[in-house]
């Protein structure tokens, strides 16, 4: 992203690990610890704050953990740097300059490595396939790149700039040349390298922390000086530097020479045209039923167990390893609300929100609803702090697309998420879908034991015009009224309750009722904008019970609450809906804490959006979690006891 001329301002890390209490518990915990270590060591050194993330434990990830990372950047529209070789490059015989780490053989075949179903016997051949990133060098390069961008802006010259990703040097150079409609000649002898590798290794190795510049020869000396002298690359990192490795020409071929011989000479378009695969799809037969389970006798125990479960418990144990404050832009950090919020431009009042979501348990039941609910949830999270969902990006993690059922899952997921983006359209622009501006696909997440549950991970970026209006999720004042929007349907398929208490999946997966969803999201944004809400939290896994509890458990945890589940049955709901279903159904919704005196206006706004607001209870000075149904007490737990469970759950699962 730095290559676009943007400043990277935030990251988020959606992680999926296996079952920490299952048959592969030791391996799962070892992997989880290693991943978290890798993320904080990298991100903190890079100097970019972590502002969101999530961790989901699910047995389908026992052999295939998923580590997705989202990064957010900011750039002035008129200062965007492009990756293609600029129009004058051919006639001008522009330089191709390689900067960064000396090319070595690391990562050889890394992108293709992911495609081998991992078998233990194959560990020998897997060696050497992993790329070795270096956040320190990246940090230095970003700063040097900033100096370069400043130089070309001042000179008013267009350059091409690109980072080297999968496929290494050959991919990047040919892409830049082909995109500009030119040819390119490269001399591997001029490449700074770690050793005298064969030309094919040098061409496709995926050594990290390297960038490519296409620039006019007049700028050559000044560019090399930035990297080799001002930022002293050769002394900062052994072998790192900027080197002129080739030239753009007006031809249409990609030629590479090495030790006086031409080792590659092909039409440049050859290397960049992708291969179109025709894949077969076949609907996976999913045979799931709703379980026949008795109502629990002791809701206190059930609730404590859920609060302690690895997928509900506080994530504090992990995000305390992440620097959430670096750059000095953080307004709302992880743990305070459903989304993170930064104010990235000094002197401007706007904020950028970020949230990530995806529930693999839903994907297992219905890949389509797995995709749609991921988008809906990410948008709800952004709306819960008062930001408007403005754009979405994704990382679509699925199994082997060469297997028809896995490919079907992928297509269903994409249909689901694109439908959600269309029907939860951009606020104020009826019918205009929320754009998905970028994304990533990760296939082949399977092992001989099976494929991962469909996991379309969604990140939603939102904008709030005034950071002073953003709100967080912790309860604010005793006496404030609590409202629920979003009816409780019998939708416990894939729920935390079914999984943790009964170890079943169920069948009634929560769906997205698009009009209702959109109205709830818009209503919450408007209510926050008008200053009517003290706190808000969206309902997702764990249902209503987890949502309200979390509002009391979030720091400073000074207040309790009392709610009446009878009041959570809105218009048209069945009066006989079971208590556990009301508590733990994961149907979409929000719990809102109204500011005193603002309740009437809040109701007006909610009804204006055709919602049925349910006044379910009140914030109390007494530090207890109290849930009743009419006059019967269902649960009554001391807040500190609940907090002990909620704050220890994740640490215990990762010990």
């Amino acid at each position: 992203m730095n290559c676009m001329g943007a400043t990277v301002v935030a990251t988020a890390d959606p992680l999926r690990f296996g079952d920490p209490f299952g048959p592969k518990a030791n391996k799962v915990r070892w992997v989880a610890e290693g991943v978290v270590d890798g993320i904080w060591q990298y991100g903190n050194a890079l100097g970019v704050p972590n502002m969101a993330g999530d961790i989901v434990f699910n047995e389908s990830f026992d052999d295939n953990c998923l580590v997705n990372v989202v990064s957010l950047g900011i750039v002035r529209r008129d200062q965007i740097i492009r990756s293609r070789a600029p129009p004058a490059a051919g006639e001008g015989g522009y330089d191709v300059i390689l900067i960064g780490k000396p090319t070595d053989s690391s990562g050889l075949g890394g992108v293709t490595f992911a495609s081998e179903a991992l078998r233990e016997e194959d560990e020998e051949t897997n060696r050497g396939a992993v790329q070795i990133p270096d956040p320190f060098l990246k940090n230095v390069l970003f700063k040097a790149n900033d100096d370069l961008f400043r130089l070309v802006r001042e000179e008013g010259i267009e350059i091409g700039f690109k980072d080297l990703g999968g496929g290494g040097f050959t991919c990047a150079t040919s892409e830049m040349g082909a995109a500009g409609g030119f040819g390119m000649e490269i001399n591997l002898d001029d490449l700074h390298k770690a050793d005298d590798f064969p030309p094919e290794v040098l061409s496709i190795a995926e050594t990290q922390e390297r960038f490519l510049i296409v620039s006019p020869p007049e700028l050559r000396e000044r560019i090399l000086k930035i990297y080799n002298e001002h930022w002293d690359l050769p002394n900062v990192y052994e072998g790192a530097r900027a080197s002129v490795v080739g030239k753009i020409n007006t031809g249409d071929r990609f030629t590479v020479s090495h030790k006086g011989e031409i080792v590659c000479d092909v039409p440049i378009q050859h290397l960049t045209g992708g291969i179109r695969y025709q894949r077969e799809e076949k609907a996976r037969v999913i045979e799931l039923t709703e379980p026949d389970i008795p109502e629990p006798a002791d809701y206190n125990q059930v609730l404590l167990k859920i609060l302690k479960s690895p997928n509900i418990a506080s994530r504090e144990h992990v995000y305390r390893y992440y620097d959430t404050e670096v750059m000095g832009n953080t307004v709302i950090r992880p743990g305070e609300a459903d989304a993170g919020l930064i104010a990235p431009v000094r002197g401007e009042n706007f904020g950028v929100a970020l949230a990530v979501d995806s529930n693999p348990f839903y994907g297992r039941i219905s890949p389509y609803w797995g995709g749609a609910t991921a988008v809906a949830e990410a948008m709800r999270n952004v709306a819960a702090i008062g930001a408007v969902p403005s754009t979405v990006t994704d990382c679509l993690n699925y199994g082997n697309p060469e297997k028809p059922e896995a490919f079907w899952e992928f297509r269903e997921g994409v249909k689901g998420l694109s439908q959600a983006c269309k029907d939860l359209w951009l606020k104020g622009h009826m019918g205009q879908a929320v754009p998905i501006v970028s994304g990533n696909v990760s296939f082949y997440n399977e092992s001989p034991q099976g494929s991962v549950d469909p996991s379309p991970v969604i990140a939603c970026v939102g904008i709030i015009k005034d950071i002073g209006k953003a709100i967080t999720q912790e309860l604010k004042a005793a006496g404030d009224k609590l409202f629920l929007i979003g009816p409780r349907f019998d939708e416990l398929g894939g729920s935390e309750y079914y999984k943790t208490i009964f170890n079943v999946t169920g069948a009634n997966v929560p769906i997205v009722r698009f009009d209702l969803e959109r109205n709830m999201i818009y209503a919450v944004i408007d209510a926050i904008d008008e200053g009517l809400l003290a706190a808000a939290h969206d309902i997702s896994n764990g249902g209503l019970a987890a949502t309200v509890s979390e509002m009391a458990l979030t720091r400073p945890a000074k207040l309790g609450f009392e709610i009446d589940l009878e009041k959570a049955l809105g218009i048209g709901a069945s009066a006989s809906m079971r208590t556990d279903k009301i508590l733990f159904s994961e149907s979409s919704g929000f719990v809102l804490e109204a500011k005193p005196g603002k309740e009437e206006r809040l109701l007006e706004i909610l009804r204006g959006y055709c919602l049925d607001p349910m006044e379910i209870g009140i914030v109390t000075k007494k530090r207890r979690i109290v849930m009743k149904r009419a006059s019967e007490t269902v649960a009554d737990i001391d807040l500190d006891e609940a907090r002990a469970a909620w704050t220890s759950g994740l640490a215990e699962a990762m010990r």
Binding site: F136, N139, V140, R320, D323, E325, G328, A337, I467, G468
Partner: protein, 264 residues
């Protein structure tokens, strides 16, 4: 009045530190470590910001401390100019011998260890908001010049090596006697409780910041530039509701400015 915000390879916090410097009305620029050392004498004060200079190779701050620019900074310190090292900056000052200012390397900032009720409950990198108590008198040190003794600041920390240790006998006693202990970790009522979570990294006597005997050089583990504006504060802080207000960290920068003014 011109401030240099030092920048080593791997430094992270220079931009927001410069924002803070300018926001209190000082002029400033980012000073890359390999610029000519002679240029340093043109500045009136220095900040060494946080980050991972040289990737904490060997140990945090040591490689940066051997750079020629640190020798020049030593000379500027001898002239009485204010130098504030934040987080990695503090580590660099310790490895350069500029702090505690006895003329040699007299302490280390070692790996965090979080002890509660006699048990180690956590180790390593930690990011959270903490409360600091100003344990030195006002005007004792450049970076806390305008602050009253006993006043409290809420500022975030984010580090893995902030545990102040020393093998020099009686050093800590001397620092206390000479009022060189500038900030200690405390709870929100100002009580120093020498165990986690109040002592957030196991540092000796909950020490979060110290100055040299002259008072012009301050090293602190917490990041005042991240608590400069009220809107940066955590959600449960009442001051956050007035986003245009100053944050607690601003006092560090105002202190440096005042210190330079009265020294002129």
């Amino acid at each position: 009045m011109k401030i240099a915000v030092m920048q080593f390879p791997g430094t992270n916090c220079e931009h927001e530190t410069l924002v803070a410097v300018k926001a209190v009305g000082m002029d400033g620029e980012i000073f890359r470590w390999n610029r000519s050392e002679g240029e340093l004498s043109g500045f009136d004060g220095f900040f060494i910001p946080g980050g991972f200079s040289y990737q904490d190779r060997i140990r945090a701050g040591v490689i940066a401390s051997k750079e020629p620019v640190m020798q020049a900074l030593l000379e500027e310190a001898a002239k009485g100019k204010p130098i504030v090292g934040i987080c990695n900056g503090f580590q660099i000052l310790v490895e350069s011998g500029l702090l505690p200012g006895t003329g040699k390397i007299d302490m280390a900032l070692a790996q965090n260890v979080m002890v509660s009720k006699g048990k180690i409950v956590r180790r390593g990198y930690y990011c959270d908001w903490v409360n600091l108590r100003h344990d030195a008198p006002s005007k004792r040190c450049s970076g806390s010049f305008i602050m009253e003794q006993g006043s409290l600041l809420k500022i975030p920390i984010a580090h893995g090596e902030g545990n102040l240790v020393t093998t020099t006998p009686k050093l800590i006693e001397r620092l206390n006697e000479q009022e060189q202990v500038v900030f200690r970790y405390c709870d929100r009522n100002g009580r120093v409780i020498n165990e986690f979570p109040v002592n957030v990294n196991g540092s000796t006597q909950s020490i979060a910041a110290i100055c040299n005997p002259e008072g012009n050089v301050l090293g602190m583990m917490p990041h005042p530039e991240r608590s400069f504006f009220a809107w940066q504060l955590p959600s449960f802080d009442p001051r956050k509701q007035r986003p245009d207000a100053a944050g607690p960290g601003r006092r560090i920068f105002e202190s440096v400015k005042r210190y330079i003014e009265v020294s002129a």
